[in-house]
Every structure is written in C-alpha cells, then in structure tokens.
Symmetry: C2
Subunit: 366 residues, 2 copies
C-alpha cells in the first residue's frame, strides 16, 4: 500500500507559498490531505489543489495536529514560532526561511548537491537562499570534476525574491515612471528599513540588512550557506566564497556572474566544464555564442531548471573561469527546491521525527 501524507503549506498566500502548492500538485508525493495556512489576514481565501477547493486557515499550533509534512515560507518569525510546534506534533518541516539554516541540527539541502545529509534531520530541513541554490547547482558538477578553490559571485536578483509585494512595487513604479510620475518606493530594498528606493529602471546594491562588516545579510548567506552545503560547515576554509548582491528591475529570475577557480587547473577547460554542466543534475547548458544562446530570466521564469552559459576561461589566470547562471528564484530558488526535498524525504521514507519532544526542545531554544 502506498503511504499517503497529510501536508500543510505555511504561508500559502505568498508568492512562494502559491508556487509550493503548484509544485506539490505536479510532484510525485502522494497527498492524503492538504491544509493551507497563513496569517489571519489571508484566512478565508480560496484555492484549488488537484481539482478540489481549499480555504486558507489562520495558523495556530493546533493546525499541525495530524500533519506529516509542512512546507513553510511565511517568514523567519513565523517559522520560529510554529515549526517547533509542528515538529512536536510529529511533522517534518521543509522551511524556506533563513531562520534555522545555520542550526547544526538542521540540514541545509539542495537535492542535486547534498541530499545525503537529509537522513540526519530532526524534524526541520532548511531550504537555502534563492541566490545560493542556483549557484551551488551550477557549481556542483564542476566541483565534482575539478574541485573548487574560490568563488567570486555578483548577483542580478529579481524583485520577487523580496516577495509578492516587492514584485507589485516594481510593476507599479514602472508604470509611474513611464507616465512621468514620481515613483513611490515603500518596500525595497528591505521591508521595514528606514529608507526605501525605487527599483524600477534602477539598481539597488543592497539585499537584506547590512552586517557589521559592511556585507549585506544576503551576501553573508551566499558565503556561509555555500560552505555548509558543500562541506557541512558554515565556516569551512576548504572553499573561499565572496559575493556582491544587487537587486535589478526584473520580476522573476535571478542572474549571476560566477567567477571560479578550480583545483585541477590542468584537467579543466571551458569545453570540459561545459560538458560537466550539460550532464549536471537540474542543469541546462545554454552556451553558444554563434547562436546568441545564453540564459535569460525571461526564458527561465516558470521552469524548474537552472540555466548556465557564457562559460569561458579568464585569459590571464590558469584555472579560473566565468559562467552566467539564471534560474527562477521562486521555483528552484524556493518552492521547487522545497518540494524536491519533500520528494526525497518521501522516497527515502524519512517523513518521520524520531523524538518529537526532544526536537521541540532543541528547536525551541534556537
């Protein structure tokens, strides 16, 4: 008999939550029941799943009674409050927020890269940051074939990475600009920050808040999540990573210029890297200058894959290469990666928490 799962989506009304529902609908996961959870602001809204209508409910600790699997994308404070409650009730949660990512008791998983660590979970599995995910998926076959010493990445990140409201703001500001009206910025670069700047027809070199070292938290995430995903150690010195992250006036689809240095410089070449990427899991090579073929957000939006092109050597540094990586930040960068983790959990029969009360205590103190 096929095991079936009671699934809850936490943050079901957001840009990522809606896509989690869609990706779950298309997934191989046998869903016995679905619960759509959000704040009381969204409670009462209707949604459909596999032909049936569902009503969004306000999230409460008891909402997780009887739930096997939670897909969560409602913000760090919501994850902090409710995921320990869900785990206490025996549910396994795949969390898209950053709240638990650096907890040593929480696997940080990109299935193409490190699904092996899933077996160590205690109830919560974290989905990495969108810009990290697409980069590590693209780097994985290169890492396997040639090793990696260093990564220097600049990002071109879409508005929807900051949520549906930021996406709406980009479109509204664009309209205002084209009508010669003053652009009204209320959300970006960071919701709730002191200052807001228009993104439409502009560039904002700030994503998330600033840390004390003048890096933004987004840049911090790209550095430390990459180390944790590749080496299960957020401070690993086995790979050097540095990043500058920039928000660009694109609705969906992050771009990244990734400059990387391989360990086995003698074995690597642009062609060998192209071949590795072409064979890599979750990757599509789009790299043919003669056909003007390279990844573009407009083509990546709505797709699960990560697209890679512009692969070529630094002409003055042996073993160093460039590539250009684009993926749908709401799918592989969020909803699809979470559902993909859930598929892996189901496949490996890991939708279970060994000691829910112990996990609850552990996460409660996070």
């Amino acid at each position: 008999m096929v095991k079936e799962y009671n699934v809850a989506i936490l943050g079901a009304s957001g840009a990522v939550g809606r896509r989690m529902r869609e990706q779950l609908e298309q997934s191989t996961i046998p869903v016995k029941s679905l619960k759509l959870l959000a704040s009381n602001r969204s409670a009462g809204k209707k949604s459909t799943f596999r032909g049936k209508e569902y009503t969004i409910e306000e999230t409460k600790p008891e909402s997780f009674d009887g739930i096997d699997l939670v897909l969560s994308s409602a913000g760090g404070s919501v994850s902090k409050r409710f995921l320990p409650e869900a785990v206490r009730r025996g549910a396994v949660a795949v969390d898209n927020t950053s709240y638990f990512r650096m907890d040593k008791n929480v696997p940080l998983v990109v299935p193409e890269v490190n699904s092996g660590v899933l077996k160590n979970h205690h109830g919560i599995i974290s989905n990495p940051n969108c810009s990290t995910i697409q980069m590590v998926v693209a780097l994985k076959p290169i890492f396997d074939a040639f090793g990696l010493k260093q990564v220097i990445v600049s990002t071109y990140q879409a508005a929807s990475g900051a949520g549906q409201s930021a996406w709406n703001e980009l479109e509204r500001e664009s309209s205002e600009y084209l009508k010669d009206q003053k652009m009204q910025a209320k959300i970006l670069p960071v919701k709730g920050a002191e200052k807001h700047y228009p993104l439409a027809f502009n560039l904002l070199p700030q994503i998330d808040v600033f840390e004390d070292d003048a890096y933004t938290h987004e840049e911090w995430k790209m550095i430390h999540e990459t180390k944790k995903i590749f080496f299960d150690d957020m401070n690993s010195s086995k790979i050097k990573v540095t990043a500058t992250t920039v928000r660009v006036p694109v609705p969906v689809g992050h771009g990244e210029t990734v400059y990387f240095q391989v360990e086995k410089a003698n074995e690597a070449s642009a062609e060998a890297i192209q071949n590795a990427v072409a064979d890599g899991a979750g990757l599509v090579l789009q790299d043919d200058p003669s056909q003007q073929l390279y990844p573009q957000p407009i083509n990546a939006a709505g797709k699960r894959e990560t697209f890679v092109g512009r692969i070529r050597p630094d002409l003055e540094n042996d073993g160093s290469y460039w590539m250009w990586v684009v993926s749908d930040n709401l799918l592989k960068g969020a909803a699809w990666n979470a559902v993909q983790i859930a598929e892996e959990l189901v496949k490996k029969d890991l939708v279970r928490v060994a000691d829910p009360e112990k996990s609850y205590e552990m996460y409660k103190e996070n």
Copy 2:
C-alpha cells in the same frame, strides 16, 4: 587675447551628440563657432547653443574646412570615413567611437587618469568605452596608493549605452509588458545582429558582438582599454583584467561590481581605500551602510561624477576588495569625458595638428 575655437559635433542628433552639445555649452572652452553635423536623415533639425539656434547639416569632408576641434560620436564607420578628412584640414578630433582606440598613434584618454599622453596626439584622441571609463576613474586613486594586480568586473549596463534607439526600445517594451502585450525586440542586444531579445524586465549577458574566444567585444574593450589607459599598452601584463558585461533594464547609468587585488596588501584597508576614493579626481564616495548610502543609477543620471560605494575586503583573501561603481554612461562615459579631453587640449594649447597631411595618411590606412 583669448584663443577661440571653431567646433564641430559629429553625430549631433544622437543621445551622446546632444549631450556633447550640452556639456560643451557648460564647459570652459571658448567657442567661436559651432557646426552640428549628422547623417542626411537628421539634416535640417534645429538645436540651440548658448542662446543661438543652429541647424544640423549633413556631414561631408568639406564640412571640416576651418574647424579646429571635432567632437565625434556618430559610429565607427563615420569616424573611419570623416575623421581623417577632418585632421587633414587641421582639426583635432575627440572620438567617442571604438574605431581608432587601439591605434598606437591615438591616445586613449580619461583625463583623471592619463591626460599626460595627450601631448602625443597626431590629430585624433579616442574616448574610451563607457564601462571602462567609470571603472578606471574609480581604480585610479587605488592604483596610485596601493598598486593593482588584478581586476574582476561584472557590469550592469544601461540601455542608452547602445544609443537612443535602444533606450526608446526599453521604454516601449516596458509599456508593452505592463499592458500584457508581446514585447517587440528589434535592436538589442546588438543592432543588426541576427537575433533580438527584449531587455525590459530581463537581463542580456551580451553587449556588442562575440569574439572567437567567447568574450564579447565589450568585454574585450574593458580588458584592453584598461591596460592601454594605465600602461599605454593594450596587452600589458602589469595588470590582469577580466570582465563579464551584462545589459540591464535601466535607461541611464551603468553599475559595476569591481573586485580587485592590490599590490601593497599590508598598506591597504577598506578605510584607506575609502579615503583614497573620497580624495580621487572625478569621484564621489557614497559609502555608509548605516545610512543605506550607496550609488544608484537613478541618482547618478545627469551628473558628471563617478560614484563609488560598498567598499569592503574579501574576508578570505588578504589584499582583495570589492567596490560598486555607478556613473552616467552618456556623460562621464561619453559626452563629458570627450568635452573634458577637449578642455585639457585647450588648456595645454594642444588644439593643433603638427603635420595634417602625414596624420591623414596614417589614419587613412588604419
């Protein structure tokens, strides 16, 4: 008696040509007469300069009779055809196209960096590429204080870098997108190329045509122009430079993430680099995370300066730093740099060609 100059603007109807006229109007150059030249398509259009009306004329070799100074931005083929004719008639030309930039008899000048080479001119002086100019202006005080071993740059380039028609196309496509209409791409990424893609709400990792080595010509320019400007040698190995150039849906103002390694790692620090930049010619430091202060295209548009922020060390590589550089690609990246060169020529009394006929022969064969 103050010397006065007969000035011609070649390509007067374009986005850069119009700004050349405006920058000349605000400059210190004593203009005796002005001639506005363009193709016959634009001939007959009116324009004003210092309160007087001028009519755009069709460019012919004879147009340069009696002209002392030419500011040129009408495309490489126009420069090729007409600038030798202008020089033959005794004029000095500041050319914004790439046509003569790598000619060893043509100084490639950014006044803040290498105005010393102006004295070697034979009639034509080249204005570098827009993305190169703002980068070398930002790097100059760092180069002087700490030396530079390597530069790794990713660009975020505005539509107007491809001309007024590309700028118009971005705005039209943006309107189409917001009305749920199909975007009609006819110009970008490269005018006359086989394929065209929308820039609105998208990213295009192709600027200019592809070279055989899979770099675009824009990337080639950033590499070789930087070497020529700093070391008067387009192939200098004294500095390593590599680039990925990307077009973004911004009308005016290029952004760049510049990752650089200094020679004197022990003497450099983020603060020392900030101080050097703050004191650097043509630069404005906008770098205060606590105030969310950093350069943005929307603020740089219409200004002559280059704006620098997000200066911070690579936390894992001693002597390596990031910065974020923004400037108006039509002003410092084109029109203002050209007029600034002309101001230097006037100041140094270099608006003269030693042997016009010899220069004509030399440039004719370029």
